[in-house]
Amino acid sequence: MNDRPDYEFCAGHDFYGHTACPGCGEKILFRHVLDVLGPDTMVVAPAGCGAVTDGVFPHSLSPVPYLHVPFGATPSAAAGVRAGLEMSGRSHVTVLAWAGDGATFDIGMGALSAIAERNENVLYVCYDNEAYMNTGMQRSSATPQGSWTTTTPAARLKDEPKKDIDAIMAAHRIPYLATGSPAYLDDLKAKVQRAKDIQGLRFLHLYSPCPPGWKSDPADSIAIARMAVESNVFPLYELYDGERFRLTHESESVPLEEYLKLQGRFRFMSDEDAKAMQDSVERSFAGMVARHDKSKVKQV
């Protein structure tokens, strides 16, 4: 066997038997994030796929302490855990908020903005499967334009573009913001490690494929995640203090079709919609790069 270590934290801590769907992106992400963060971590998790598939009383998948909290409460509860740890002499523990796009973009948005503004010492991860998947695939503000969901059916697909959570978080000038993808694990884990070593509010926006919600083959989860990056739908980058920007992966700018064709949730899109989405992706990407490139004066 190659010389990579046999033992990794989750593999060595009984990370088996969870009830997530076959091909679930969230569990790939959770495992690797925990592998980097290690045992001195506490998870704060709202209602959502991650929390529900952790297990029901008296069982839990999580190898680290795990606090379930109500849906919109994650950011504040995480800040509370941090306050409690500091007051009980355990400042070295990483507080990991582990929330879906529903809890992050929508119901918890206000609280997230608040802890970002206060620069609370929390590592906030949003695993983004682009809809309220746990409750049956209803649209969220993270759902891409043109996508089918149970509340944006074929007759009325989602009109609005995906909320730009990264721009919102960037505007708070938090110490560290990064996007990550399960198809690029080395890139992702390096970012988790950097995030771990920074104090203050760190925000990781991770792409989380969902076969039942995206109407995709479970086997395609990584392929879709890759296509999302390579088509610039989900570029990989990091941003320090709202200023210093670094694109961490040069995409191949593949046609959007390569990404769309793998997912049934896009099959109702007309050609015009797809073209509009392609234009929107290109504009968004170019805009992001241009916005941040101005600050290249202060390189990382």
Binding site: P39, D40, T41, M42, V44, A51, V52, D54, G55, V56, F57, H59, S60, S62, P63, V64, P65, Y66, L67, H68, V69, P70, G72, A73, T74, P75, S76, A77, A78, A79, G80, V81, R82, A83, G84, L85, E86, M87, S88, R90, V93, G110, A111, S113, A114, E117, R118, E120
Partner: protein
């Protein structure tokens, strides 16, 4: 050492003496001076605590759920809209058995907008699994906050201490401030058996199937059943150390009373004054001051029902369509314990309207004249 202070200030003193470790609060009239004072003493280091300055009350309670889960002593204060905004989290805190202590400065619920006192805000939360104490003096506030930490941490039940907005919160009285040493000997640091701990990883409040959920509710309920004993013991201990005593139901001038008024909060102190005055005139009237809504002190109340007195309950709150909540609770307690007494319900002072001495006199007059309704609400001072 006695100091003159407002009700809100008494809260801050108690929080400091109780060595609270994490505070998270959002300002709302008439609680604001609590927030401000606590910010001051946390900022100066006078109190070694983290004050998390959240952006909403929902976040305040969420923050404390997080903090309390790590095993530290946690506190917040709010009123009316703020308390209501916390509503879902109040259930969470009790279900998770977190001994969070909160002060609710009683204020009426909007709409329409108001900042003035009534108790609808706290009584509307009586089903959330929190203990509730009602205070009528600034001394009592200080003492009750300190005792609440001890009681809550023993029972693993969150607790709120309620007192009337403006009437008590902003009124200055002399308060005997105990020393830190005395409080420390009475109230040791919190020791949580179950807490977020990397040495013993556990998962808290995970999904619970129907075959086990009811058992957890039963455990919470059982804690409430044990609560009165714990409360009484705690206050007995308190009396021993601090020299002041409190009871769940405090009788005043009830000997041979022919009319007894059951009341809470600042209205109770007006009622005390009124009853004393009427007694001087030879009227056989009495007062029962309730200190608790949860656990409801049914036994203590029924014990006071021994004589043949007409019973009235004065509520500074309203459950629309039914009436004042304390009245319903009294009726339920009497009915359960087979005490067949008529209960005359009076609703007064909603939205901060004064409850005056003459209002109380009128209540007693109505009772004596048998002109008080016993099947419907008697509205006091309503402008029709």
């Amino acid at each position: 050492m006695k100091q003159v202070m407002s009700g809100n200030e008494a809260v801050s003193k108690a929080v400091k003496l109780s060595r609270v470790q994490v505070i998270s609060a959002y300002p709302i009239t008439p609680q604001t001076t609590i927030s401000e004072k606590l910010s001051e003493i946390c900022g100066s280091g006078e109190l070694d605590a983290r004050f998390v300055k959240v952006e909403s009350e929902h976040s305040a309670m969420a923050t404390l759920i997080g903090a309390a889960s790590t095993g530290v002593r946690s506190f917040t204060a709010t009123s009316a809209q703020g308390l209501a905004l916390m509503h879902e989290l109040l259930f969470w805190a009790s279900g998770a058995r977190l001994p969070i202590v909160m002060v609710d400065v009683n204020r009426a619920m909007a709409a329409p907008w108001t900042i003035w006192c009534d108790q609808t805000d706290s009584v509307a939360q009586r089903d959330t699994g929190w203990m509730q104490f009602y205070c009528w003096s600034n001394q009592e506030i200080l003492d009750t906050v300190i005792c609440s930490f001890k009681i809550a941490e023993q029972l693993l039940v969150p607790t709120m201490i309620c007192f009337d907005g403006f009437f008590i919160s902003h009124t200055h009285e002399a308060v005997d401030l105990p020393s830190q040493k005395l409080v420390d000997s009475f109230l040791p640091p919190r020791r949580a058996e179950y807490r977020l701990d990397t040495d013993e990883p556990r998962t808290f409040s995970g999904g619970t199937m129907p075959n086990m959920f009811m058992e957890f509710r039963h455990k919470l309920h059982s804690a409430f059943e044990r609560a009165q004993t714990v409360i009484d013991e705690t206050y007995a201990q308190f009396e021993g150390s601090f020299g002041r005593s409190y009871q769940a139901v405090e009788p005043y001038f009830t000997e041979e009373a022919e009319s007894t008024l059951i009341v809470t909060g600042s209205a109770a102190s007006t009622a005390f004054h009124t009853v004393r005055k009427l007694r001087e005139r030879g009227r056989k009237v009495g007062l029962l001051r309730l200190r608790q809504l949860r656990p409801f002190p049914a036994e203590a109340l029924c014990a006071q029902m021994k004589n043949d007195s007409a019973i009235a309950v004065l509520d500074r709150n309203l459950s629309p369509g039914t009436g004042g909540v304390f009245a319903q609770e009294v009726r339920a307690a009497l009915s359960r314990n087979d005490v067949g007494k008529q209960v005359h319900e009076f609703v007064a002072g909603l939205g901060g309207r004064d409850i005056t001495v003459s209002d109380i006199e009128r209540i007693f007059d109505d009772l004596e004249n048998n002109s008080a309704n016993s099947t419907d609400i008697n509205w006091v001072g309503l402008n029709q």
